[in-house]
Symmetry: C2
């Protein structure tokens, strides 16, 4: 086996992180609301700490839970990561446009 | 600054990898067809090597390019990573169901 590439490592990380948090209670392959909050407050604390509105995580969970079953499956979890990555990428684009 | 979490590192990696490959020619924030092929053959060679059908990358590019502009933007790139992660996750679920 050769060393995994950065992209392969990232795909593995996404799966490992989802399995780690979704395995904490009940259905192993779904993030419950409690698991989602644990994930956000642990893995994305830099983001959650900056939110002044205490309802923001509740609203995020509702918006991500596309089939409204009160759980996030892996696809719904990927939409969260994708949304955050997109927001970071766009803020990078804006700041680089300002600079040049 | 505290050490980034696994999820934060992953979000950073996705952005860095996209910028690395999309910056090779023309529009810096879009993956051209050539850049997409370079990305796939470098970062995901383990996947592309196993494809017996030489048209598979062409068809993937067409399918991912939702607005058919011949380029992949960051959102379209994230759909690729998400699709691959989902396929890996589902094959893991299948193999663990067989095992238990």
């Amino acid at each position: 086996m050769s060393k995994p590439t950065e992209t392969e490592r990232c795909i593995e990380s996404l799966i490992a992180v989802f399995q780690k948090y979704s395995g904490k209670d009940g259905n192993s392959y779904q993030l419950s609301k409690t698991e989602f909050l644990t994930f956000m407050n642990t893995e994305l604390a830099a983001f959650t700490k900056n939110q002044k509105d205490p309802g923001v995580l509740d609203r995020m969970m509702k918006k991500l839970d596309l089939n409204s079953d009160g759980q996030l499956d892996f696809q719904e979890f990927l939409n969260l990561i994708g949304g955050l990555a997109l927001a970071c990428h766009e803020s990078f684009l804006k700041s680089s446009q300002k600079r040049f």
